[in-house]
Symmetry: C5
Subunit: 336 residues, 5 copies
């Protein structure tokens, strides 16, 4: 069992929430052993472990809950692809939690693993800070259905909170896309291209996180597991629809970003066209005139025009005429 991912300092934090319709208890424990008595209680228990670097905690809880060693390996390997596995006694689900930090203006990815037993859910997170506060609230204040339902509903609620947050991320990205689109029309720079490219890459990574989730939730819903009640199944179907919606949005963003790239490239071409036109107009007007000036700057002894007193103004007039004709020609060609 090897921990893969950013190594965090400090101790892992273990919190227990135990509840049923009439009763509620929240506690932070120091040792993972303190959680074990809750397992056999008929009330719903949610054990949340923040921090995967203390392998002995994972090991101990795994042994006590009789979890397959491969599952423990998957929990501490944070480069896991979202997946779901049913081991009859418990269901193992792992997925990616995304959080957008307004301060740092970046998206943080964290792997969350869930073990769903008959009356408990154990959740493993890489570090403190998550998107589950509304659920803790709903449990403690007994709002909504959550206190009336079993552990399977709790697992659903946790996954739902994670998927709901994807929408928030997408909204943020959507704003970024709109900003870029405006920039693209007003003043496209190589930085805009860089930004489109980066956004595209973010979409690729987001897609990689969400795409397998679709299958995970679909399998959870269809699975004939005794651990999931029929009444929770409906909620999972709803969650499935949300996941599809997230995937749809990502695909739409990808299509839009591809279109923006095309626009950028053709606007670069257009501007080069503009530059070329300016050059061509200037060169086409002045080079012939320069030739005329050059001709009358030749030192031939016998050049009759030079002797005519109206020669100079006439040549100037001819030059102006040629210039004007050129301008008219470019007007007609719609270059001016």
């Amino acid at each position: 069992m090897v921990h893969v991912g950013e190594r965090k300092a400090g101790k892992a934090k273990i919190t227990i929430i135990n509840y049923d319709e009439h009763h509620f208890e929240e506690r932070e424990v120091q040792n993972v052993e303190d959680c074990f008595p809750f397992k056999s209680k008929p009330t719903v228990t949610w054990i949340n472990i923040d921090g995967l670097h203390q392998l002995e905690i994972i090991q101990k809880s795994g042994e006590h809950l009789q979890i397959h060693p491969l599952v423990l390996e998957d929990i501490v390997n944070t480069s896991q692809r979202p997946k779901m596995e049913d081991f009859d006694d418990y269901i193992f689900v792992t997925l990616k939690m995304l959080q957008y930090s307004d301060e740092k203006k970046e998206t943080r990815t964290e792997q969350v693993s869930l073990i769903l037993g008959s009356s408990f859910v154990v959740s493993f997170q890489e570090s403190e800070g998550d998107v589950f506060d509304p659920i803790r609230n709903r449990i403690s204040t007994n709002k909504g259905r959550i206190r009336k339902m079993g552990a399977d509903y709790l697992a659903y609620a946790l996954m739902d909170a994670i998927v709901d947050n994807y929408f928030r991320i997408l909204e943020k990205l959507g704003e970024g896309v709109e900003d870029m689109e405006e920039e693209l029309i007003v003043n496209p720079t190589p930085e805009t291209l860089q930004a489109i490219h980066q956004m595209k890459q973010e979409m690729i990574f987001l897609r990689k996180s969400v795409w397998p989730l679709r299958e995970v939730i679909s399998r959870l819903e269809r699975w004939e597991s005794s651990l999931i009640n029929k009444s929770t199944s409906i909620y999972l179907r709803d969650l499935y629809d949300h996941t599809i919606q997230v995937i749809d949005s990502i695909e739409t963003f990808r299509d839009i970003l591809s279109g923006m790239l095309d626009i950028y490239l053709s606007s670069v071409s257009n501007r080069m066209n503009e530059v070329m036109k300016v050059l061509t107009i200037i060169a086409t007007i002045f080079i012939p005139l320069t030739l005329i000036a050059g001709i009358y700057g030749m030192n031939f002894r016998f050049m009759p025009e030079l002797e005519i007193s109206a020669g100079y103004p006439m040549v100037l007039l001819i030059m102006v005429c040629i210039g004007a004709l050129m301008v008219l020609y470019f007007r007609k060609k719609k270059w001016l």
Copy 2:
């Protein structure tokens, strides 16, 4: 239950249409409770609710009709993906109604949700104004089969009206595409590119609305629900074919628009080529002549040509010859 979408002022409008083969009644009610007696009648009842922001109306009707809370949430969340769900007692369908406004020259999207019970249909719309007037007409004037059929046929008729309108939207967009195609050949500008891009994006959004509809209607048709008669199934199959046709058309438009983008880009290249040719022709003809003029403008003391009396006309003749040769060369190269 949270209302997602544009918040509308004013009260929600509730209308009831109750009919069977021999009887017809249309009424606008103030309170949702006034609808409830109709539910148990054997005649077909269509309750239409315009406005989703008054959550208590949705709530009350949901409770009375014993609709699952998740369905109510889906009704008021207007960013829903088209979907269909069967709850034995009723079938829930949500889809997107598109309306093209000739005045504003824009497409308006609205979410329409349908609850199909044994003898009633409840339709929820975001705001007043819809595409259902022909159906109201057919019911009130007893035209066609609608008065002879049950609530399932009414639900079909509503969905059919929505899908029929997609064709109208596609026709409008098709006209736009044709206009752009002509513009592309006659006089392509960066605005044409912008228009192609915008049309492409509209297709992306249209596709997002219609694509899931295919599955919704396919499932409705194949579903072995007691709420849908076999005779209505044939109509749903027809509706399914129409949806496929809409999707086909969207894909075709996308292909055409991609082709137009290629044409635009290569026409930009072509024009740059033209510009470059003009510049090159001018420069290639005049720069050598300028050199000749420059040479005879040098102030060397001993330049025999300068003393010859025919020097000047001869140099002019040479210049004309060189220019003519250049022109011939470009003719041969097909640049002129």
Copy 3:
């Protein structure tokens, strides 16, 4: 029931062909009612109706043959997607007939609908003129198997004639593609691009007509309908293979056309490169020489070179040398 499509003037034309192994009869009738007696005959009857704008004919025949109203609507709506539907008593098939007119150099599309009953086939066409003459010939001269087989074989023969014509259309398009390919190598112009674009669009439309046909025929073949004999099934399988072959060819053409677009674009780039090289060579050779001429055209009082009697030829020599060096440089760079 609304007729969608080009409105034709004149009366619809109704022809009846009735045959079995020993007997043959062809007749043109004025009223659709004259066809009805043939329906109950044990011999095979082919009723062909040219013209969909006389809705009362469609209506009457539909009522007599007890055809579902939706089918009649599909027959007169000529923007139908190819499809097949089984109503136990009869099978309804609609598909697109393509005809290439050598005179007008264009492809004409027409919708053909077939009703296959136990001993009759009714075919509906938009207008006179079709690809069925060889079949009429084979029936009247009793060539091949057609007179020995039932109505299902007749329906197969009609569809086969339509698909066979697709090959002829593809051949015509293939010749066009070859012409364009030659043009692309010899002398590519913006018109070539336009032609490639148009051919691509024709492929898109052709594909739209043929793609759903694949499914139609596949379903006909696999369908366990009492109306289709096992011996005809083999012919349908063959027809299915032909359809696949048509689709294959269309896809191949699309691939080739995409490749040609790439070739066009890069040949435009290549030519711009050529233009740029000419300009650069001219400018690079003559601009420095012009500078030299300019220098000795300066009016400084003390310019010793000007006084040397060999100054002028020496400067000319230097100019020639510089020009020659430049040419050598460009030769080395493979620009000349």
Copy 4:
């Protein structure tokens, strides 16, 4: 029955090979009737017919072997897509034989059709010359398993020989791709582009021949036909793997060729960039200097610099300085 394909002169050539473990006989016969006695023998018989233009031979053998008329039509129509059909008494397989001729440096395609009966294989080829010589050898010298196995193994061996030859073709094409890749780096010309384009097209046609073969062999392997022994099934599975490998290679080549096209296009861009840089450097250095020379070539009466005896060398010095500064500037910009 119509022969489609290149019409060959001369008589069709019919050869018979009859063998079992202990016995071997090879014979060329003049009339197809001479083959018929072999059909009922228990030993394996391979009848090979070179030449499809003599329809009466195909007709006669078809009648004798009781082959469906559609199969005969498919045999003589050489634009057939590879396919397999089971008629209980015999299995019909048609596929494409490709031969690379080192002399002509081109790939020749020929359609080969096989009829596999209980104790015989009939193979139809368009013309003489095939890839089956190693098989004839193995039969005559009793090498390997072929003499110990039945007609189904013979059919497998023939198809295997054809697929094996695809690898040889791919190797040849692979060498061509490598040559082009080297050319692309060393000296890309429009001819390289032409070659890439042609290779791409060859891949398209190769793919068209091989892609349906995958399904043909897969169906042969899975088919529960009494004509194919279980022991031969293993060989068919192996053949299937080879076909997949061929398809994989074709797809890989296509990917590589697409990449090469990108490389070509961007190398064209790069070279244009180079050309533009040379032009810009020359123009930017010499045009300002030409202006200076022009200024001191003006004929104003009062130009003090002209009178200074050091004026001329100073101006020359200034010119050299400006030129040097420009060169430094371009060095800094990494253009030189």
Copy 5:
């Protein structure tokens, strides 16, 4: 049986590892016959053969283990696509082992074939040196579960080691991609393009090796073979997940590389734009000034300006003004 692939000199090396929970034995043998006694032992035996060019070794071991001749052919044909086949008595798996050599900075591909029997695994490698040392270690030091499990777990462990190494290769490639990305932003050269192209090709080959592996392992896991215990099935499922992860990563890299190509091409366009701007600015400023100088260099007898004593400084002033105006104009156009 023909050996395809690089021919190696030297003798093939045969090593035997025999173990159960309590016993361990490792031995290198000279003749393949020395391995045979191990086959019937109940303990697990791993026979590893390095070197496929000594066909007689493969032949002998094949005969002794009663392996199908086709399998032996597949083992020595190193251009095999990864595949799995079940022959009841044994399962045959072939896959690609990739090794990254830090010294040579290249990836080496080797084909590894496994024969899994009831109590033995035979592995065939092309040459010495592999990724199995950690497994040998775990067996000899009795670490982990491997000594407690059967031959099926050993086969899993070998495949797992190979797939694990793919991750290492991907990491190396990932570093390369990051380096290129930095280069792309800082200083893109044609070499960067070449590197992107090469990386893309490497991805194509990697994908070709890994893609079929997905199916191989999926079939192994689902296969109802008596040779694979249910407890090992879980590990195979895990291995399957890893393979999917590798494929995901490859696809992601491909997407990123495509994006980088776009960036490269548009940065080339951008730089050409820059070059064009410099040229245009220089030409546009200096060409008009050169014309003015040229005009006052004409030799007309009557040019009043020339006589004015302030003529020269005034003309210089005008030139500076025109130049300054041009610079302002370009500033406004954001070209400077």
